[in-house]
Symmetry: none
Subunit: 276 residues, 2 copies
DNA sequence: TCCTGGACGGAATTTTTATTCCAAACAGGT
DNA sequence: ACCTGTTTGGAATAAAAATTCCGTCCAGGA
């Protein structure tokens, strides 16, 4: 009486999927474990790839990948894929209709809210892994590591991001200055050649930050930027830009991806410094 | 001998596409202009949608959307789509090869670091969803919503968390004060009955925050707390405590779960206020 | 009013993709 | 070494998508 059908129901969210994956991957046959391993590291590809793509990338036959989806509780690849595609569309079929329900559910019911934000965090992290390249992160880490001091600049939504960096740099012994809005004008005088500016600004971009970046670049100071849009004016003066897009819930965004990225960056800087 | 083939070559990049779109949209027939209009506003959908999806969303028949793609210089929808999918896959074929290089870099190299932190973020979010109950979040939201003003207190690692809350409360029109370390002693005098204190502190706990909480509670002010351990001394004075545990990478933690939780909380507060 | 050329969208066709099936290979136990 | 239940991947099938075709509709000109 061997009942192994873990099937029950298909995961309804990325959280569900990840939990199920971790819970069952250990007991899977070899090739399915290959699927699990690749898939876990490249979740973001699912939305834009075909089964054969994923199968080839995992080093298995399409039919094997198919079984993998089913082992996770999905009816097939399409169902699993729709989980990831839903994030971009926010309303696939009949979006008029779903939009209405979204509005209706609204911001009410805080229970749902937390789950929504957690889910949204997962999505932001998935997209983060996909958009930021190791190379540019590495170049920035080296740039910061060799600076006399790094100036952290960010206002509004970006401020929590830079304040987190400031804390980490402090802990790690990396010389850093956190610029507060109030002191910004004075701060310009404190930036010298050999320093580096790390500026964070999200659309709509803070003019103060842009002005500071412009002034710093004018002095020949290296600028790195973090933003959420290709159109960010900081890009014009920056040696290197990082772009992360946060997923949103009812118009609100938590800076999950930005904080994660900058935390990794801070640790990377310290690693580079320790190497030399 | 009217050859009107504007085709020439297909756009090779998103910029090309946008240029072509803006240049030609004006001269297009009505329905094609509908396509252009919707597509311009929802470029990101192309990667994950079918022709019929895009056609329906644009309010036209699939064959019309097809002609739209061709008017832009593509051979069809698939070619246009591949332009957007390429962004995510960064070179479709030969995942094998890319995977190999990824694995080879190994544990060193910042590439792996970012992936590790992203992974760690997923874990933090999963644990967040499992440990925090909707009820306590709801009670805190109501408590804050009915306060004259909410005092946000947090130092070190917690500071980015409260600064994010401060930004959100400001945006949402919820009266809030962000307490900076420097002004903290003075700030005590600014807390009155009818206020609420929201204190964030992670182990090892900041004595300044604990003292402030103690003083506030002594005055009969309601205190809510967010921390990462049952042992947190704030619990003694707090009406309600939130506990989140962050996953760590090599001893470093990003405040992913805490930020996600407090963002949800801020939105919940605003929802409660709007209801009444 | 009639004619003409382009625009339109439903239906047919072709191509691609997902999914299932099955024979061969395999691992573990006897 | 032999049997047995599982895993595997190629081939067959089903489903869905993209793309083309073509009859109808509409606007503008004679």
């Amino acid at each position: 009486m061997n009942e192994q059908l873990a099937v029950g129901s298909a995961p309804q969210s990325v959280s569900d999927l990840l939990e199920r994956l971790d819970a069952t991957a250990g007991d899977m046959p070899k090739r399915l474990r290959d699927c699990a391993s690749f898939t876990r590291r490249h979740l973001h590809l699912i939305a834009v790839s075909t089964v054969s793509d994923m199968a080839r990338a995992s080093g298995v036959a399409p039919s094997v990948y198919m079984r993998f989806c089913q082992a996770l509780g999905f009816s097939g690849y399409s169902e699993m894929q729709s989980l990831f595609r839903a994030r971009y569309t926010e309303f696939r079929p009949d979006y008029q209709e779903r939009l209405a329900t979204l509005e209706k559910e609204g911001v009410v019911g805080t229970g749902r809210l937390l789950a929504d934000f957690a889910e949204s965090g997962h999505r932001s992290l998935i997209s983060l892994a996909n958009t930021v390249t190791n190379e540019s992160l590495d170049r920035i880490a080296r740039g910061i590591a060799s600076a006399r001091v790094v100036h952290l600049v960010g206002l509004r939504r970006a401020f929590s991001v830079v304040s987190n960096m400031a804390y980490l740099f402090d802990q790690l012994g990396v010389p850093a200055t956190l610029h507060y809005g109030v002191g910004m004008l004075n701060a310009r005088g404190a930036i010298f050649p050999g320093d580096v500016v790390f500026a964070v600004t999200f659309a709509p971009f803070s003019p103060e930050v842009v002005r500071l970046v412009e002034a710093a670049a004018g002095q020949g100071v290296t600028v790195f930027g973090l933003t959420d849009s290709e159109r960010c004016p900081v890009a014009e003066w920056a040696t290197e830009m990082l772009i992360v897009r946060e997923d949103e819930v009812a118009g609100f965004r938590a800076p999950t991806a930005a904080i994660t990225l900058t935390t990794a960056l801070a640790v990377a800087v310290s690693a580079v410094q320790r190497q030399s």
